[in-house]
């Protein structure tokens, strides 16, 4: 039997905004030995509801089970699982290069222009460049800048938004209400 391939998935986890929830969510991954590639938390468009955006590599089957285990936590409202083509996503990267290398020629300036990056800050010693994009894009710029000496590099976790018009959670909250009336 062929073992199914691992794919990249983006999980949007909606929860109440409580202390300790991050731990509750990450232990579900740890217990199943699934590495979290990136993680971002923020408020959602709905007041009081928090959103975790988590990127993992796993099989579709694993992800389905994982998502259910996360949803099982009392304070988690809902987990949505997306493949890359179902979302618009972005990451941000910062690069620190020496200002000297920037002044030494126009190569770095060319790279900044070509990659749609921008310069955030220049001091006599260093320059901070910012680029948003997919991981491959920010990585590529890193590799291009590296020969000129990148003294610091940092990349954020992924943030993602669905291609549907509203937060999927709103539909879910409506469904909850109808379920509740059916049960009572």
């Amino acid at each position: 039997m062929k073992t199914p391939d691992k794919e990249e998935f983006t999980l949007s986890v909606y929860s109440e905004n409580h202390v300790g929830l991050l731990n509750q969510i990450t232990t579900v991954f740890t217990r199943r030995h699934i590495n979290i590639e990136s993680l971002t938390t923020s408020e959602s468009a709905i007041t009081g509801i928090h959103k975790f955006t988590i990127v993992v590599f796993a099989t579709a089957d694993h992800i389905e089970k994982l998502a259910k285990q996360i949803e099982k936590r009392i304070d988690v409202l809902k987990v949505f699982v997306f493949r890359a083509d179902e979302i618009i996503h972005q990451e941000i990267a910062l690069y620190k290069v020496s200002t000297g290398s920037l002044l030494g020629g126009n190569e770095i300036e060319k790279l900044v222009r070509r990659y749609g990056a921008r310069i955030l800050e220049i001091t006599p010693e260093f320059t901070v460049i910012e680029k948003t994009g997919h991981k491959e894009e920010t990585q590529e710029l890193f590799e291009k800048l590296d020969p000129y000496g990148v003294s610091q590099f940092v990349r954020s976790g992924r943030i993602a938004i669905t291609k549907t018009k509203k937060e999927l959670l709103e539909n879910y909250l409506k469904k909850l209400e109808t379920d509740q009336t059916q049960l009572n």
């Binding site: 300790g20 009081g48 285990q69 949803e71 304070d75 909850l176 509740q180």
Partner: protein, 581 residues
């Protein structure tokens, strides 16, 4: 943000209409317990929970507290109590070691879906995070083994936290909850009023039944020629025993049960074909791979039930009736999942199926039973050689109580023997550690079971290994006068591990032989009357003496040293490869 916000809002609304009463946090704990219908608490005091115990002193006429000899005993006793009554088991423990001693019981209750509210004391909130005396991060430690946990740092949050705890523990798929209360929250005062929780936005305890899925399930059942129902604890937790029998009797479908589904249907019911899994009966195991339809009812396809999943139910479609969405497709793919409480889904399904009989298919199970009887059961319950067998003891103990006692077990060979040879007439008659397999569970769980069902005989089977893990609870039994009947099946071995060593490790008995104390003397020390059986002719008399003695009793039976439990599906093998010897 405050975790209690939904409740706090609720409280503010109610404040206008309801009168409040000023009291300490500890008294609020007592009042909350009374509001939730608690009458029994198992626990052990200590520094950080002393204000709660002090408040308890004034409530002894409403809240009966059982002082155990170890916090693990308190949790297992609460589990026993919860399992026989269907109520939420309640425990008190102090901070630090008191709280960490509850962890095994919490993990056990989590695996076996037992509703518990465990209240732990915590150091004063100003000392949190300073490595204060007896401080442990209880919320952190218990998070993976609880359905929900919460730390209360303000007295005014106690009623809402308690209401939430009880609602979560008992609703949906039940489970253990920990409420960790700092000492200052216990001492400070609040305006008390109690509003039970009826819903939590982020938590759906059960799904409404999908009628389309019922139709699909009914179609498969009506077409099936070899259907097999697998009965789990979901039936008991949902109080759906009657609904189960109606479904089975209309469909004529043979039903096998998991360890925790035991006693959901009477042993002698003609459609009861026995136990599933590793030490289950022969028929249900080999017929699993001949069945064309599996109807799983409130069970979770544990690996001890399924064996090798790639060779499990290979010819069958699967209908899975289950309350917990995370169990659907977790281990076995469900062709027709039916989410929701089986109490509601079973009658809908019964309404849609045609009346049927599967007499030929049932006859195949009977043929298997005859093989099993001849090869295993006869030798175990009516042996023709000298050594006493666990099976014969268990079967006779069942008989003296008219097959209507509550059976509690510890973990190991005697547990499997108990499941195989004890007989049942009514539900909620089994308390055993299924998922976690916790040795030491039996004795304290039996105390809770007896206190929960005082009108029924409660009989606990323990091995010489597990008995010594919580043997100090004999002190609780004596002090609280709990009339449990303890049957110690002593083979001077850790029998189940020894059996595996015999079968799979070339008889290399590494650290499994026990040189035991004189259990009779120990029982005497605890003022528990005891008898020791070494020969078969003493057995009937001893059992009679045990049954007729008022109060607790220990019957120790020296059973065959190297007895084995068969049949057996070796770990990782297919259910079809069940071994009869």
């Amino acid at each position: 943000m405050n975790v209690m916000e939904p409740q706090s809002q609720l409280l503010m609304k109610e404040e206008k209409t309801k009168e409040t009463k000023r009291m300490s946090g500890s008294e609020a704990v007592m009042q909350s317990l009374i509001n939730e219908g608690t009458t029994m608490i198992f626990g052990y005091p200590g520094g950080a929970i002393m204000p709660i115990y002090d408040a308890l002193y004034n409530y002894h006429d409403q809240l009966h507290h059982v002082l155990t000899r170890h916090e693990q005993g308190a949790v297992h006793a609460a589990q026993g109590y919860a399992r026989v009554t269907g109520k939420v088991g309640v425990c008190f423990a102090t901070s630090g070691p008191g709280a960490t001693n509850t962890v095994t019981g919490l993990a056990d209750a989590m695996m076996d879906s037992t509703p518990l509210v465990v209240i732990t004391g915590q150091v004063v909130s100003s000392l949190l995070g300073t490595d204060a005396f007896q401080e442990t991060d209880v919320v952190g430690v218990t998070q993976p083994v609880t359905k929900w946990n919460y730390q209360v740092r303000r007295a005014e949050d106690i009623p809402a936290a308690m209401a939430r705890a009880f609602y979560i523990a008992r609703s949906g798929r039940p489970g253990p909850v920990v409420v960790d209360i700092t000492k200052d929250a216990q001492v400070n005062e609040l305006e008390y009023q109690y509003e039970p929780v009826k819903a939590i936005r982020s938590y759906s305890p059960e799904s409404p039944i999908d009628f389309h899925q019922i139709e699909e399930a009914a179609k498969l059942i009506n077409l099936s020629r070899k259907p097999l129902a697998l009965v789990g604890q979901g039936v008991v937790l949902g109080n759906a025993e009657k609904e189960l029998l109606e479904f089975l009797e209309k469909s004529g479908i043979p039903a096998a049960w998991t360890l925790l589904g035991l006693s959901a249907m009477p042993t002698e019911h003609p459609l009861n074909v026995g136990m599933l899994g590793m030490h289950g009966n022969y028929g249900p195991n080999i017929k699993t791979n001949e069945a064309d339809l599996i109807i799983a009812i409130g069970m979770r396809f544990d690996d001890r039930v399924t064996g090798d999943l790639t060779k499990y139910a290979t010819n069958a479609r699967v209908i899975h009736l289950e309350i917990d969405p995370a169990e659907i497709n977790k281990n076995v793919h469900a062709d027709v999942p039916v989410l929701g409480n089986v109490k509601k889904s079973l009658p809908l399904l019964t309404g849609k199926i045609t009346k049927n009989e599967h007499s030929e298919w049932l006859a195949e199970f009977e043929a298997c039973s005859r093989i099993e009887y001849k090869r295993i059961i006869e030798k175990e319950t009516a042996p023709d050689d000298k050594g006493l067998r666990m099976g014969e003891v268990i079967s006779k103990v069942s008989s003296i109580f008219n097959d209507d006692a509550v059976m509690v077990t510890d973990v190991g060979q005697h547990q499997m023997m108990g499941a195989r040879y004890f007989r049942f007439r009514q539900s909620r008659s089994v308390v055993t550690s299924g998922g976690l397999g916790t040795m030491g569970f039996g004795l304290p769980a039996a105390m809770g079971a007896k206190l929960g069902a005082p009108e029924r005989p409660v009989c606990v089977f323990v091995g010489d290994g597990g008995f010594q893990m919580t043997i100090q609870e004999l002190g609780t039994i004596f002090q609280t006068k709990i009339p449990v009947k303890i049957v110690l099946l002593n083979n001077n071995f850790l029998g189940m591990v020894r059996q595996w060593q015999e079968l799979f490790f070339d008889k290399r008995y590494a650290s499994t032989e026990l040189i035991n104390p004189d259990f009779q003397t120990i029982a005497k020390g605890y003022h528990v009357p005891a008898v020791k059986v070494t020969e078969r002719e003493q057995l009937d008399g001893a059992i009679k003496q045990m049954a007729e003695t008022e109060g607790p009793f220990l019957m120790e039976v020296l059973v065959e040293k190297e007895g084995n439990v068969f049949p057996m599906v070796p770990a990782g093998a297919s259910v079809s490869d069940i071994r009869l010897e």
